[in-house]
Amino acid sequence: MWITDAAVSVEGAGIAAAPAPTRRGRGIAAGALGWVRDRLATTPGRLVLISILVVVGAVVFGAIALGAEQSRERAATAARLQTERLLVQAKNLYTALSDANATVATGLLSGGVETAANRNRYVNDLAHASVALSNLTQEAGTAGNAQAALRTIAGQLPTYSGLIETARANNRLGFPIGAAYLRQAALRMTSPSNPEGMLPAADQLYRVEAERLNDNYRTGTATSALVTFAAASAVALILLLLAQWYVARISRRILNVPMVVATVAVAGVSVWGIVGLVNAQNALSSAQRNGSDPVEVLSAATVLLSRAQGDLSLAIVSRGTDTADANDFDVVKRVFERPGGLLAEISALARRTGTTAAAQKFQTDYPAYQAKAQTVADREGSGDLKGAIGLAPQASAISERLSLDLAEQIDAAQGRFMRAAAHATSAFGGLGFAIPLITALAAVLALVGLRQRINEYR
């Protein structure tokens, strides 16, 4: 019997809400039980109980549904307005620093006086890095390791650029110590053994921001939120339907207009909510799959291409006691070319996002770069520095094309992210207001409907 079940659940609620079983508490619990028992004895009493049940149910399940909707909406909004933007800043910082390092090494190759274009590129890189750094400093806020990484970069960048200018001045004079200063500066960038390295710090920041964005995606597309929302809506509807069934049974009227309206309103907002959540989820997922996924992979490619170009140049200008730079060039090459590596992922993403035509330029320039770089590296490895220096500009020209092309693809992916993320947040449109409003309305309507029946017994 439905009514017994409902009564039992009310009884249960009364017990659960009771304070700890002290003597006095037990007295209150016993009193409440007695009150419920009295109400159960008469039909109007039962209607009063049902009214309470419907209102409590509407508030509780409305709140649960709202909570589920809000967790997703907050995550999607954060992804759109905050975390992805910070990821882009972290990416800008990372790529600007690594490009500066490669640019300056390549510039020293071109002889005593580097080209104006090369010098401007380095200056722009430093400017971009500084802008990204100040943006991140304002907002990265919370995570302790992010703060430490920001301090590292802010502290090292002036020293780095000072070393670079010393390298330039010495190089203009034809002094080999110029290349040594370059290497010293590069160490401040890259050294894995140097905890103060700027690129490891940039990597740290990038990781923090990428993971924050990923958390937003996870929360914003969480199945649990959708299931919770659907279940809460269903339970609220079932409560309303049961109340109407009981009312219909005890009275001769099949339809109780206010309660029917309440049911329709709750059903409407449930369907709206589920459609909205599913749409938002699909849009957010598209923001990730077509937007920020390519942004991440392409920016990793940008950083690693700069590293390769820096290795290629450093191997020539600053010949050490070993071939670490040349080895590192090969290490980077493998990261691109191994199965499931960056190249494969870039192709897969281009297919996924329908941008294979735009990605074609990269796919043809990359092997051209490797081939040219190989001839430079071969000359260098066999000790023909003049030959290597002569060919190096051809390799660096392709490298520059590659990074411009990657930047274009990143911009396009960023555009796709912005559009999809805007869809995701607009899909929630108004749900945050509608859910509490309609829940309250439904509760009031149900009360009005039940009140009509209760009044019949006065």
Binding site: L108, G111, N171, G174, P176, I177, A179, A180, R183, Q184, P192, D203, Y206, R207, A210, E211, N214, R218, T221, T223, L226, V227, F229, A230, A231, A234, I238, L241, W245, A267, V271, V278, Q281, N282, S285, E296, V297, A301, V317, S318, R319, G320, T321, D322, T323, A324, D325, D328, D330, V332, V335, G340, L342, E345, L349, S382, G383, D384, L385, K386
Partner: protein
């Protein structure tokens, strides 16, 4: 009355299945972070084994022929004839020892005292060095393997004659008597390495100068600081990280030439004789090179070349006295 319930159930099922297709994925993120975290290839410090031999005779080389063959007329079957045949002398040289052998960033050429000596040897074979010299810039670990594999005919690369290296290759007579000495900032008042006891003094990691400093008495011993290349020591001294540099006088002269605010002080801590390394199967070429060196030193060319490169940076050396064992 049951129908709305069924509809709701259906709706929930549809919702759950839709949830599956829009789920977020960590794949691209993980791939990105893995790629970015690729460790930088490490440098491996170069270290040569220590071999004992008679230090008094380690610099002795093969006696030159009584008369040098005329340029362009190398004896048939000799290695010099082979070199002449292929059209150029392939010499392994240093690209970072300023004034001895260093890359000129302006021209892309490698220049210095040692390069001029290579040109003189080429001139003795071909009659002119122009178009007959191929310079190969070597890293330290490449010197001996490149000779052994025949990739270079000769190595003239601030290369000290040591017992270990003599087991691998032949050396010409000494062509430059470098000394391990000390470079300090000008006006520091430091007159010798004993004034730098317990102070940081720089040299190439794993190099002989580090061993020499370590072997000093604990009261006068400086704190040796190793850098992967000697030139990194000059950077360290300019940045105030070390108070002196102790290495070959030839290298220190090059440093002084790049930084006039330094001076070379103190006595020689160790003799560092430089020889030209040649594959040990080319004894005729060793003898020929010794003959050329002896002639350059006797006719004043050696002195002139040294003066061209080093006159402004310190006391010029006299040509070394050659020792021959055959």
């Amino acid at each position: 009355m049951k129908r709305p319930l069924l509809h709701l159930l259906g709706l929930a099922l549809i919702a759950a299945s839709l949830a599956g297709c829009g789920a977020s994925s960590d794949h691209a993120l993980n791939l990105t972070l893995d790629a970015l975290d690729t460790p930088v290839a490490k440098s491996t410090p170069y270290d040569e084994p220590t071999v004992k031999c008679n230090n008094a005779t380690v610099t002795a080389s093969l006696r030159p022929p009584a008369t040098l063959p005329a340029p362009g007329h190398m004896p048939a079957g000799s290695f010099m004839a082979d070199i002449r045949q292929k059209g150029h002398l392939v010499a392994g040289v240093n690209a970072g020892a300023y004034k001895f052998g260093a890359l000129n960033p302006g021209s892309g050429n490698i220049e210095g005292f040692e390069i001029d000596l290579v040109n003189q040897i080429a001139k003795a074979i071909f009659g002119t060095a122009k178009g007959h010299v191929l310079l190969v810039a070597l890293t330290v670990p490449q010197k001996i393997p490149f000779l052994e594999q025949g990739k270079v005919d000769i190595v003239v690369d601030t290369m000290t004659i040591t017992c270990y290296r003599r087991t691998k290759v032949d050396f010409s007579a000494v062509y430059y008597d470098a000394q391990q000495r000390l470079l300090v900032p000008l006006g520091s008042g430091i007159k010798s390495i004993s004034a730098l006891a317990h102070k940081p003094v720089c040299a190439t990691t794993g190099s002989n100068p580090i061993e020499v400093m370590k072997a000093m008495s604990p009261q006068t011993r400086p704190i040796p600081v190793g850098k992967s290349q000697a030139i990194d020591c000059l950077v360290a001294m300019q940045l105030g990280q070390v108070e002196g540099i102790s290495t070959d006088s030839s290298i220190l002269l090059g440093f002084k030439a790049q930084d006039p605010n330094t001076e070379i002080v103190g006595p020689s801590l160790k003799a560092v004789p430089y020889g030209m390394a040649i594959n040990s199967s080319h004894r005729d070429f060793v003898q020929f090179v010794n003959g050329v060196l002896s002639k350059l030193e006797r006719n004043g060319t050696w002195q002139q070349l040294q003066a061209n490169w080093l006159r402004n940076f310190g006391q010029l050396e006299s040509p070394p006295t050659p020792r021959y064992d055959g």
